[in-house]
Every structure is written in structure tokens, then in C-alpha cells.
């Protein structure tokens, strides 16, 4: 790993992020959603944790996941990496630099939208740890898929299903009303439900173990995609 290269990528991609309307508007989506949500019910009632979790889900899918996936896919598509990638070590520098940009944007988007909603007792240590684990999970998933796809257009194939499955998980209760249904039982193991339990203060060690498992699984996805790409070349 070469720190100067990571920083070079970070500076370049930060400038590119600001000039790419598609990426930049994705940072605004959760903030606008938060503005809408606070107006519900005349702005007096406290927003239920389910809504907070949805905003968090949108931040992670629309910013962390989507942006890193688009950025890596764009480099793949235009082959801009080829000239720079003279050794496999440099791809790690590139991924790190891009992750830093996306990480920064995620934090901005998340903190801004939560501040707009301003719920009580949100920034607890447990919740922050769960947010970090989830951020890592979505970032790794974006990197993994970004490495596999060959073009920006293909990323939208992955974006919508993953946004619905991982970003809007609690909405499944609106489709399936039977609480004992198998789909609900499965959905309860999804990352957003862990965050919801932690927010509701009903959490034990189990929630963190499940989140860590998701994070580990997504990291394996990155390793797999990385090897697949290396073998393809």
C-alpha cells in the first residue's frame, strides 16, 4: 500500500464526485427524504424508529453502495485503470482511495439527515458500532459488484434489487402481514433489522454477531471479485 497514491486517488475522486451529478444527487436523496419525513404529522410527533432505519438504509444503499460501485465500474468501463495498474498492489490503493471518498460522503449524508430528523438518544455507542458495521457491509458489497460489472449501465441491474432487499427491508411488513411468515423470519436476520432492534433498545450480543457476519460475508465477496478480476486479465 502506498499512502501517496491513496491520497492522489482520494483528491482526484473527491473532485470527480462533486462534478458527477449522478453521484452528487445521491448524497442529497436521504437529506431530502429526512426533510419530508419531519413534515409528516405537522412536525410535532417523534418519528418512529422504523422510519429512521429506512433513512439509514437509503443512505447506505444510495450513497455507500451505489457510489462506490458506480465509481469502480466507470473506471472499468473506460479502461482508465489499465494505464495506472502496473502492479496488482495498485488496485488496493485505488479501492482504498475511493472508499475514503465514499466513506466521507456517507458520513456527511447520514449525519445531515439524522440531524434534520433530530431524534432523541440516537448517537449511542451501540448504535454507532452498528452503523459502522453496516457501512462496511454496504461499502464492501459495492466494491465487490463494482469489480465484477463491466459498465456503469450494468450497475443499475444490481442497484434496484439491493436497494429494495437491504435498504427497505422493514417495508416487507407492509407486503406480508402475517408475522410468522417465513419471509419475515428471514428478513429479521437482515442488517437493517439488527439496527432497528438496537435503536429500540432490545439488543443483545446476537445483533452484533449477525452484523459482523454480514460484514465478513461482504468482505469475502470483495476478495472473490478481486481474484476473479485478476484471473480474467
Amino acid at each position: 500500500m502506498n499512502i501517496t497514491r491513496v491520497m492522489a486517488i482520494f483528491e482526484k475522486d473527491l473532485k470527480e464526485f462533486m462534478k458527477n451529478m449522478m453521484l452528487f444527487t445521491s448524497v442529497m436523496i436521504p437529506i431530502i427524504m429526512a426533510l419530508f419525513f419531519t413534515r409528516i404529522g405537522g412536525g410535532q410527533a417523534e418519528l418512529p424508529p422504523e422510519m429512521l432505519v429506512i433513512v439509514v438504509g437509503v443512505v447506505f444503499t444510495a450513497v455507500s453502495f451505489s457510489a462506490v460501485m458506480t465509481m469502480i465500474a466507470e473506471e472499468n468501463e473506460k479502461d482508465t485503470l489499465r494505464g495506472l495498474l502496473q502492479s496488482p498492489a495498485t488496485i488496493i490503493d485505488i479501492i482504498l482511495g475511493k472508499s475514503m471518498v465514499v466513506g466521507l460522503m456517507t458520513i456527511i449524508s447520514l449525519v445531515a439527515s439524522i440531524l434534520i430528523i433530530s431524534p432523541d438518544n440516537y448517537w449511542t455507542l451501540e448504535n454507532i458500532i452498528s452503523l459502522i458495521l453496516m457501512g462496511f457491509f454496504f461499502l464492501c458489497m459495492g466494491i465487490g459488484i463494482g469489480l465484477i460489472v463491466n459498465s456503469v449501465a450494468t450497475t443499475s441491474v444490481y442497484l434496484i434489487p439491493i436497494m429494495f432487499i437491504f435498504g427497505f427491508t422493514p417495508y416487507i411488513e407492509m407486503i406480508i402481514t402475517d408475522p410468522d411468515h417465513i419471509a419475515i423470519k428471514i428478513a429479521e436476520y437482515f442488517p437493517l433489522y439488527q439496527n432497528l432492534n438496537i435503536l429500540n433498545g432490545e439488543s443483545g450480543a446476537m445483533e452484533f454477531v449477525i452484523l459482523a457476519a454480514w460484514a465478513a460475508a461482504s468482505f469475502l465477496l470483495v476478495l472473490w471479485a478481486f481474484n476473479k478480476r485478476k484471473n480474467d486479465e
Binding site: T4, R5, M7, A8, I9, E11, K12, K15, E16, K19, N20, K78, D79, T80, G83, L84, Q86
Partner: protein, 301 residues
């Protein structure tokens, strides 16, 4: 650094292309081998630049140079590079710049690259004369930095823009394209057309329509602006026939119609081109030894 020739041509050969630091090689090779060559050059650890640059279209030239400079940890200064390569617009996005400007980024990238060996593939296919001057500037600087430069061109006249000593890649090895100067004969024949074969037809070409003749792989090609025809003669034979009509052998492999010469360009101390007055502004190589003689001929025409 060595590159096995059999990796490029696919034919069995023990020969290698030897690339030494601080030296420049200019090689003419068939178009269809260029891709295999770049792959072989890259896997040997060199840095290959092909055609139009692919960079980040939303960012401007200055950000690109800054980024590449940091990436390669190069001691060169961004401001100096912008001045040296006469970058006019460093603020607009790349997508708004014309190819002439973006091409310069390749030259700058080559200077910033940390690879010891640089290769350019057909760098003069879509370029303007100003950029060829910059290319020569870059060449001098690269050699100064102790890097090697390899130019692979599909056209001989392009390879000769780089330097007078040019190699050609044939099936098994690299061979020097001889550029010794031959003496001209004087025999006056009063004809206005010459016979040229194209497939099964025999075409009679008006001599004054010919722009230039080139010899390639033992054949003589006549360039008539829009078309290229094969002539069944040697280049020396063509000179004998055409010299009285104002044709001049400006290079071992080229004869140019002096009436069609627009200008002569000096790329460096010993590389010159004759520019033909046609829409493509074809660049014909000019031997160093003929540089003064062609000027006399042009003045007395």
C-alpha cells in the same frame, strides 16, 4: 528489457527486441501486429500509450496532471508542464476539449510515468504538426530522464518522423531500413503519362496528378491523392522516368512530386518531412542529406 519477437509475430524466432534505457527506437510494423506488440511490451513492464487518451472526462487538464504527478511521485512541476506543452485551457472539462489538446496529456503522462520504458503506438495518426513538435520535445526529455522510448508505427513515413534511423519488424527479426542516399540519373523522356497496373487493369496515370511514390516490401506504390496504385518497377526506375517531370527522390524509399510540395518541416536536428499539398497534408520523410538539395530544386522549379 527484452521482448521476444515470437510473442508479437506468432512465428518461431529466437530473436529479441532489445530495449535499452535512454535510447529511442522507431519501428515500422504491420498494423495487425500493433496490438500483440503492446501486450508484449506491457507484460515486460513497459508503459504503452495508444491513440487517443482515455481519461476522466469530468475533470480538467490541471487536475489530471496534479493527479498523475502525485500518483507517480514525480518531481516535475505542474506549472512547468502546462507551459512546456502549451496547454491553452486547463480549466474546462476534458469532454469539452478537442483531441489536439487531450493528446498532449499522453505526452505529459509519459514524462510523469515511473516506468523506465515508454512505448507509443501510431502517435502520428490523428495529429497536428504542433503536437509533433511537442512529441519531439517529450522525446528529448524522456531520454534525458534516462527512459527509453519505443515508437511503433504502421506507416513508414510516420516512423521516420521520429528519427532518421528506422527499423522494420518482419516475420523473424528487426531489420534496419536503409536510408543511404543514392545518386540520381538524368534521362529526359517526353511523356505525360505512365502505365500502372491495378489488379487486371492497366491504368494510365497523368504524371502531374501523382503526389508521391513510396517503396514498401519491394513494391512501388503511387499515391494519387485519393488512391494508391502499384507500379511494376523499382523506385530507381521510377526516378529515371519521372525526374524530368519535377520529381525528386527525397528519401531512399520515397519520391515526391516537387510541384505538390507545400512546405518542409524540421522536427529536430536530423528529422525532416515534406508536406504535400493535399487535404490529408501527407508527411513524406526527407533525408538529412537531401535537405539542402530539395530546397535548391524547389527554388529552381
Amino acid at each position: 528489457m527484452d521482448i521476444e519477437i515470437q510473442n508479437i509475430t506468432g512465428q518461431p524466432s529466437d530473436n529479441k527486441i532489445n530495449i535499452t534505457s535512454a535510447e529511442c527506437l522507431s519501428v515500422q510494423m504491420p498494423y495487425e501486429r500493433l496490438e500483440a506488440f503492446s501486450a508484449a511490451f506491457e507484460s515486460a513492464g513497459g508503459h504503452v500509450f495508444t491513440g487517443a487518451p482515455i481519461y476522466y472526462k469530468r475533470l480538467n487538464l490541471k487536475v489530471h496532471i496534479e493527479y498523475l504527478r502525485k500518483w507517480y511521485n514525480s518531481p516535475l512541476k505542474t506549472g512547468d508542464l502546462i507551459q512546456q506543452f502549451k496547454l491553452e485551457d486547463v480549466i474546462s472539462r476534458m469532454s469539452k476539449l478537442n483531441e489536439k489538446e487531450t493528446q498532449k496529456l499522453n505526452y505529459i503522462h509519459a514524462l510523469l510515468s515511473d516506468s523506465q520504458h515508454i512505448a507509443f503506438i501510431d502517435p502520428f495518426l490523428n495529429t497536428v504538426n504542433d503536437n509533433i513538435h511537442l512529441f519531439h520535445k517529450m522525446k528529448a526529455q524522456l531520454l534525458n530522464q534516462g527512459k527509453s522510448l519505443f515508437v511503433a508505427a504502421s506507416r513508414l513515413e510516420d516512423a521516420l518522423i521520429v528519427q532518421p534511423g528506422v527499423m522494420r519488424l518482419n516475420g523473424q527479426s528487426l531489420e534496419l531500413v536503409e536510408t543511404a542516399d543514392n545518386a540520381d540519373d538524368d534521362s529526359s523522356l517526353n511523356i505525360s503519362k505512365i502505365k500502372v497496373k491495378a489488379h487486371d487493369k492497366t491504368i494510365f496515370v497523368t504524371i502531374e496528378d501523382i503526389e508521391y511514390l513510396e517503396s514498401m516490401d519491394g513494391k512501388v506504390y503511387i499515391n494519387l491523392g485519393s488512391q494508391k496504385l502499384v507500379m511494376e518497377t523499382t523506385l530507381q526506375g521510377a526516378v529515371d522516368q519521372l525526374a524530368p517531370h519535377g520529381f525528386y527522390r527525397c528519401h531512399r524509399s520515397y519520391i515526391v512530386n516537387l510541384h505538390k510540395v507545400k512546405e518542409i518541416i524540421t522536427w529536430s536536428k536530423n528529422t525532416y518531412s515534406v508536406i504535400v499539398d493535399n487535404p490529408e497534408k501527407s508527411r513524406i520523410p526527407l533525408s538529412r542529406a537531401k535537405f539542402n538539395e530539395i530546397q535548391d530544386k524547389l527554388l529552381k522549379l
